[in-house]
Every structure is written in structure tokens, then in C-alpha cells.
Symmetry: C2
Subunit: 306 residues, 2 copies
């Protein structure tokens, strides 16, 4: 059991209309693994520089995340600087410094090779493929990607997509990947690449899930306090995969519950900068919000049919 | 029983990435009443010019809509010309000709004064107030408005809002009306104006409903074929009010079902230009889509709590 995630651990500098932080803990694998750690065991593969402070690794260890796959290389940690306006759906990247990430070659520790759940966070599709070569047969492989790889490494990306079970991307990425503005048609095109389940994240508008025969639509939890959407998508993926790995229930019904758990986790992350909200989060709070989510979306069927 | 709607009957000329139509049947009261007519009796108050063709009135009569309140004045019918890009959420208005609407003074026929359900479509708030003066005490009053009135007749509009039970507006209008970008806070501000139920339409992203103590979130039905979003909001309101008037069930649960019926009706309207799709629509199709809507949004509660 347990999840293996390969992605980035980073320093983020973020400005939103509600505040500003410099060089705080960020990165796709960080958000993913912290979120998943509320549900199951997580092993992380990533790289940091020798400037990465002990408090961050201590935090990740306090969440019981296995860091044997976290390399510490000479140089500076990957860093991202971005800004959001009032439309918190769109991040504007001001600067990306790959630093030690530039030469990152994921190497999966032997103890990790038996992971049953694998998440390939948004990294170069060539590296994602490299990871796929190193792991045994996981029960579920999910992956993310981004506009940059869709345009610059399309062929490699399509190969990866053909090998994963679940693709988790946002609506703009789905449209770009499929060359199709309509999301339903876009989903059909992407499913034809070989992926079984496509999850399209729509920020504050929630999530759509597509399979060959079903669609599931979940709104996002309406929040009064949205400070910083950074990491929301990876937190979603972490809660989603975490719940799947916890229950082992890969039925449509289990996947739908996992999507709601993912949405719940993302709704907490955006309430504060960096991983601050996840640091104080408790499992009863997660369950409470799941219940609100359920009552917030419930409606009766047709008379006599509920 | 039955609904009274006061609004516009118009000629629309619309261009979308999928086609173009000229001078077709449109208008808020037209979409609203046609949609509501699938659920209940509707009486319409509006004005057209002497250029309004018989085929359109015959269509409305075929839907059993009471047209005794439809004045035919000398001059041309109100007309709207607009265009949509691939982002079908945003209409670009190219031309609005008020024509006979410019001197429109709604006069409620005595037979209509007892209407139990009243919908004030998007017209000048002074005219909406004029209607409120003429009707007896309806069981439910709902209204719509738009950015133009929020900025140009804010005071009159706020008075109207204080007198209605249900306000149905889109997200940009909610933000403008409340001077608040966050929708949850925005909703709270608008509810404090005296309205009991606020429904915020978010186009392809669905609907949020707010009351003092509850939130309901419904996604929009994901469609493969969206031809023309014109009239979607009024069609939503028509299905919503129509179902409420049909059942008389004004509980939270009844209102949630009505929201889904409204969303179902809107999902049909956008499948073709003008009211073309509603012309061939049947009630079993509405029920079928309601059922898909239900299964598309369903997920289980926490283990042991469903």
C-alpha cells in the first residue's frame, strides 16, 4: 500500500490581493504528499538544494512522509515567484528558477519500487517516463502536467498519458491538449489517448470527472476566505489519491468520494499561504467539511424516484 | 396559481463561433415564459411593435402562454444584436434598439393581478416597482437585473431587491452589486438588503444558492453541443419558477429541485439558436436530463453516514 509521488519541492514567493510571502515552502510533491498524508503513507521523490532548511524536512517528517527519496544536491532549491489578481484562478508566473531541479533525474529507492499508488506530479514527461520504467506494476498511476509540456514535449507527454490510469489537469490544459474548446468533446479526445479516468480541475468552479461511460461534476467548496490558490491542484490530487489508497476502493463510487475528499483538502489549502492551513488541520475537520460538501450539493430526485 | 412575468419580447441577432442568426425570436419574457410553460400556466406582460410576426405569437400561444398582457404598439420591436467568442460565458452587445420598449409602461391586466408567482425579468427597476404596485400579494416574487441598472439606478434597484423573495443574478452582477469580489461575502451583503434567497448564475459553471443559513451548489449540465447561450439565464428562471409554481413546495428541498429543473431547461436552450430547442422539447426529455443530473452529481457520504 501507500503512495509514491515524484515531483517538486520548492520555495515559493507569492503575492495575492490579500498579502505577500517570500520563499515559503511550496512545490507539487510537497502539497501532494502533505495532503495525502492525512489518509495514508506517502513516499516522496524530489530534489532540494543545500539551502533547504531543516524545519521544512522536519515538518514533512512530522506528517510521516518517507523522505528517503528526497535528494539534497549542491546548489539552490527550485524556486517559483508568482502573483494572483482578484481572479484567483489565474497565476501569473514572474520567475521560475530551476536550480537543482535542472539536473534532476528521479531515482526510485528500491524500497519504493513496490508502491501500489503512483502520482507523477507536473514534471518533464521524459522524467515521468523515467519513473514509470523504474517502478514495478502499481495498482493505479495518476499524473498531472502543464501547458509548457503540452506545447514543448507533446509526443513524450502523449506516451506518458497512454500509460497512466488517471490524468488530473485543469480546463485550459485539457483544451490545449485536445485542441478542442468544448470540455465534453475535449475529454473524449483525451480519453482516446488511453487514459481511463480524466479529472479536469476548474479552480473555484470545481471538478469534472470523465470516464468512457460516466461524468461526475463536483463544485468547489464556496469559501469566504481564499488567501492563496497556490498548491490547490496538488493538494486536490493528494487528497484524491490518499483516499483511494486508504480504502483501495477503485469503483466509480470510490473515485467520486475521493474527488470530494480532494476538493475538501484543496479548500483548506487556499485558506492560507503555503502549507500553513494544512499544518494545523485535523482529520475531524476534514470529515466535517466532507459532510458540509455533501449537504451543500444534495437535492432530491424526481418525485417518487429518490 | 400560475406565474406572471414582466419583461421583454425581442428580436435577437446573434453570432457565435458555431453560426449566425438574424432577427430571431428572443427577449427575457419570451425565454422565461416558454420555459415555465412546461410546468405551469404563465401570463406574460410585455410590448412588441407592429412588425412582430404572427408566427411568434402563435408559438407562444401554442405553449399555452396567456398573451392578454402583450401590448402591440406602433413602431418596431425591441431588438438586440450580440456576439459570443469561444468563451460562451461573455456576450458582447453590438447593438440594442429599445424601439417600442422605450415608452413601455407595464400595465397588469385585472385578470393577472391575483398571480401567486411573479417574475420581474431584467427591466428598469422603476418599471419593476411599478409592477409591484399593481399586483396583489403574490406568494413568491423573484427578479433579475443587469450591470446597467446596478450602476445607473442603484437606489431604485435596492428598493426592488428589498421587496422580492428571490433574486436571480449572475456572478459579475453579484460582485458589482455588493462591491465584493468574494462570492460568499457578496451573497451575505446582498441577503442583508432583504432578499431571502439569492441565486447566483455562473454560466457553464452552474449555480450557487444562498440563504441566511444554507448554501446549495449545482454544476451546469456538461454539454457537448453549446450553440448559443442567449436566453440561458431567463430559461433557468422560467424552469425554476415553473417548478415552484407547479408543486407549491417552497421548502429548501423544493427550491433545490427547482434550481436543478431550471438548470436542465437552460441546458436545452443553449443547444440551438433562439428558442428552437424548446420548440421540440418534451417533458419526458426534461425528466431524463433531471435524472442524469442527479446521477452526475451523486456521491456517497462518509462511510456509515449515507
Amino acid at each position: 500500500m501507500g503512495i509514491l509521488v515524484v515531483g517538486s519541492v520548492a520555495f515559493d514567493s507569492v503575492e495575492t490581493p490579500f498579502g505577500k510571502v517570500e520563499k515559503v515552502l511550496g512545490g507539487s510533491a510537497t502539497y501532494f504528499s502533505t495532503s495525502a498524508s492525512f489518509f495514508t503513507d506517502v513516499s516522496l521523490v524530489a530534489v532540494v538544494g543545500d539551502d533547504f532548511p531543516r524545519e521544512h524536512t522536519e515538518f514533512l517528517m512530522s506528517r510521516n512522509i518517507d523522505l528517503r527519496g528526497l535528494s539534497r544536491n549542491r546548489g539552490e532549491t527550485f524556486s517559483w515567484t508568482g502573483r494572483y489578481g482578484y481572479d484567483l484562478n489565474d497565476a501569473q508566473t514572474l520567475e521560475t528558477r530551476l536550480n537543482v531541479f535542472e539536473t534532476f533525474k528521479p531515482s526510485i529507492p528500491p524500497e519504493y519500487e513496490e508502491a501500489e499508488y503512483l502520482f507523477l506530479a507536473n514534471i518533464d514527461p521524459d522524467l515521468q517516463m523515467e519513473v514509470l520504467r523504474q517502478v514495478k506494476k502499481p495498482r493505479i498511476i495518476a499524473s498531472d502536467t502543464m501547458n509548457f509540456w503540452i506545447s514543448s514535449k507533446n509526443e513524450a507527454l502523449q506516451k506518458v498519458i497512454g500509460m497512466v490510469d488517471i490524468l488530473i489537469i485543469n480546463d485550459a490544459e485539457a483544451r490545449q491538449l485536445s485542441h478542442e474548446p468544448n470540455l465534453v468533446k475535449s475529454a473524449r479526445t483525451i480519453l482516446s489517448l488511453g487514459v481511463k479516468t480524466l479529472i479536469i480541475k476548474r479552480g473555484e468552479y470545481g471538478v469534472l470527472m470523465f470516464t468512457d461511460s460516466t461524468i461526475f461534476a463536483a463544485p468547489a467548496y464556496p469559501l469566504e476566505k481564499v488567501f492563496d490558490p497556490t498548491g490547490a491542484g496538488d493538494t486536490f490530487a493528494g487528497g484524491f489519491m490518499g483516499y483511494l489508497a486508504n480504502t483501495g476502493n477503485l469503483s466509480e463510487s470510490g473515485i467520486r468520494q475521493a474527488i470530494v475528499f480532494g476538493s475538501v483538502m484543496a479548500s483548506f489549502t487556499v485558506e492560507d499561504f503555503s502549507l500553513e492551513r494544512l499544518k494545523t488541520l485535523t482529520y475531524p475537520e476534514i470529515e466535517d467539511r466532507y459532510r458540509s460538501f455533501k449537504s451543500m450539493t444534495h437535492f432530491e430526485g424526481l418525485p417518487g424516484e429518490d
